[in-house]
């Protein structure tokens, strides 16, 4: 059964999405059990894949073939079927998405309980999970486009779920307009590569990619679209809107979904283009985008009064860290000495930060949702003294806030430290920007903590109680993971970030897994 894991990983959320209308007609209790069971099964599947891939194995799965490992049927030179291919980095991403989806599901069970239309909600939720998992699992570019579209369509629906709020409709429409243009340009890029090389499999394309103007244009398109999807600075306008207007359990998942786009960007830069000379320019573009996102994201976050919107802008700045780290890694990719010297460290830092970011950002959005659930407002000026009435939420917010601002014992510090020390080798201004961002992040979260949780209790907030146990479980899961990673960063870096980074630079291994013939 282990060989079928990649297909099961996608089959479970598909089945969940299709069965949701039936399960929801069976009553409230069975619906909740169904929702949690499917999420949990997906998580178990993802953990098994993660364990297999982090041991250095590349999982290949051919859809619809007589044998799941038959990548080249009847002696063809190139793969013709839909192929799923997962290395250690994909395994890590799949794990992030699955954890976030399970935490979001736990949170949503209570959070969404009083609303109607939950049958559509659960369907769309699983489709969003499917899209994100598929983006990390797929081995060819066209399926990447399809999964991007599945996740986008599901997220339009979920962002506009509270359709009686004009803001959520507006956010959803804005995102849809921009995202559709982006997706169509992604299709143009895939089609252009297909027109030249007659292949859409990433491994097959990587094995015969030449250097030329066309490849540069295509790479530029990929970078523009996928950086837009993960919310880098000049294309960030949709991100705070959608993150703040979607229901909080979904926002926790959306964070991971945009990380899946980031995964796609890395897959294209590292695996598809590899040591292609176009990548040196690409590396500088990534570094510039990263610095701009970090700085401007946090500058706009500082002035916000809406708690979820504030966290949305922080997402932009955190994505900047990863772009910076991976840009540094990409810059050194064609030079083995520099790569060993600091490039590999940067990639480890970036991947470590990616995992941390999915966890603490998800947690912070869930705590913001808990605040909204308890007080009925997202405006920081109307909150105050909530630490007395919501002790658990306060503790978990503190864990998340400490992790995102990189206070020393927490997980954010370890990953940011790796990024500082490696980006210093490229240019000393880069860690300065990163440090400044970190300080401003701390300032901004101290402000939130001060206004929402400390101070005198407001009379209007007297009836506020702690949120239900399901929501606490969702937040608790992420908090425990953050604490675990914070206390044992060494285990995580050597056991997870290291194989992921080496999987990412091992272009030949990725190509061989597809073109190597039947194993």
């Amino acid at each position: 059964m282990n060989q079928h894991l990649p297909a099961l990983l996608l089959a479970l959320p598909i089945g969940g999405a299709f069965l949701a209308p039936l399960a929801c007609s069976l009553g409230k209790k069975l619906r909740n059990i169904f929702y949690l069971t499917v999420s949990l099964l997906t998580l178990i599947c993802a953990v098994m894949i993660f364990l297999e891939t982090s041991a250095g194995k590349i999982l290949v799965y051919v859809m619809g073939a007589e044998n799941f490992a038959l990548t080249l049927p009847s002696g063809m030179a190139f793969p013709v079927r839909i192929i799923l291919e997962m290395d250690a980095f994909s395994g890590l991403m799949v794990l992030c998405v699955a954890i976030a989806s399970f935490a979001g599901a736990l949170f949503s069970v209570n959070y969404m309980d009083k609303f109607s239309g939950l049958k559509r909600f659960i369907s769309l939720y699983f489709l969003l999970v499917l899209g994100a998992l598929g983006m990390c699992a797929t081995g060819d570019l066209f399926n990447f486009f399809v999964f991007v579209e599945i996740s986008s369509i599901a997220s339009y629906g979920l962002a506009a779920f509270w359709r009686d709020k004009p803001e959520s409709i507006e956010a959803s429409f804005k995102y849809m307009m921009l995202s559709q243009v982006g997706a169509l340009l992604l299709l143009v890029a895939v089609g252009t590569l297909y027109g030249k090389y007659n292949a859409i499999n990433i491994g097959a394309l990587a094995s015969m990619l030449q250097t030329g103007v066309l490849e540069k244009i295509v790479l530029a398109m990929f970078i523009a679209i996928l950086a837009f999807k993960c919310g880098a600075f000049p294309m960030h306008a949709w991100l705070p809107d959608v993150y703040s207007e979607a229901p909080s359990g979904v926002t926790c998942l959306l964070v991971s979904v945009s990380q899946a786009s980031f995964y796609g960007l890395m897959r294209i830069c590292f695996t598809l283009y590899g040591t292609n000379p176009a990548n040196v320019t690409a590396a500088w573009i990534l570094i510039t985008l990263g610095c701009a996102s970090m700085f401007f994201g946090v500058m706009m976050a500082v002035i916000q009064h809406d708690v979820k919107r504030l966290m949305g802008y922080h997402s932009i700045s955190q994505v900047g860290y990863m772009l910076l780290a991976m840009g540094v890694g990409l810059y050194t990719l064609s030079d083995a000495v520099l790569l060993a010297e600091y490039g590999f460290t940067a990639m480890k830092g970036g991947i470590f930060h990616l995992f941390n970011y999915s966890m603490f950002k998800g947690l912070l959005f869930l705590t913001a949702g808990a605040l909204y659930y308890a007080t009925g407002t997202r405006d920081l000026d109307k909150m105050g003294g909530l630490a007395r009435s919501m002790p658990w939420t306060t503790v978990m917010f503190m864990i998340g806030a400490a992790a995102i601002s990189g206070l020393p014992p927490f997980s954010g510090f370890a990953s940011k430290w790796l990024i500082y020390e490696s980006s210093f080798a490229i240019h000393p201004i880069l860690p300065v920007v990163a440090l400044l961002t970190s300080i401003l992040t701390l300032a901004s979260f101290v402000k939130v903590f001060q206004t929402a949780f400390l101070g005198a209790s407001k009379i209007s907030l007297a009836p506020v109680r702690e949120v239900p146990v399901g929501m606490l479980c969702g937040m608790g899961l992420l908090s425990i993971l953050i604490l675990f990673v914070s206390f044992f960063p060494n285990i995580f870096v050597s056991g997870v970030a290291d194989p992921s980074a080496s999987g990412l630079i091992d272009q030949a291994g990725y190509i061989n897994a597809v073109l190597g013939g039947v194993k």
Binding site: E149, Y156, P166, E170, Q180, V181, L184, V188, G191, N198
Partner: protein, 115 residues
């Protein structure tokens, strides 16, 4: 020259839709522009898969003709069309809701989210 005519048409369509996307203020017109963009991309995919003198890419219908039109871009196009249909339907539904909430479909008057 005539061989590349189709790509000229595609480029023109793309240009029309991108210009419309930037200049138009009416949401319905923006949706139409997006549909044109989608159509032009599908055009591009099908045109890339064409081989001159090629036959239908079905084994028993192709006959003795050795050159076949590539089937993969046609599959891609079909998938893209289905996706475009779903998004178009969703988009027009959202426009209906926007009209209900704001009383207008002019894009510069729909500005509640900012800052």
């Amino acid at each position: 020259m005539t061989g590349n005519m189709i790509f000229t048409v595609i480029a023109l369509l793309m240009l029309i839709s991108l210009v419309a996307l930037v200049t138009q203020k009416n949401l319905i017109k923006i949706c139409i522009a997006l549909s044109i963009l989608g159509a032009s991309v599908n055009f591009l995919l099908v045109a890339l898969g064409y081989r001159s003198g090629g036959a239908v890419p079905i084994h028993y219908l192709a006959g003795d003709n050795k050159v076949m039109v590539l089937p993969t871009p046609q599959c891609l196009t079909l998938t893209a069309i289905v996706i475009a249909l779903a998004t178009t339907a969703l988009m027009y539904s959202l426009i209906v809701m926007i009209y209900k909430h704001y009383g207008t479909i002019e894009i510069d008057k729909i500005r509640r989210l900012r800052g």
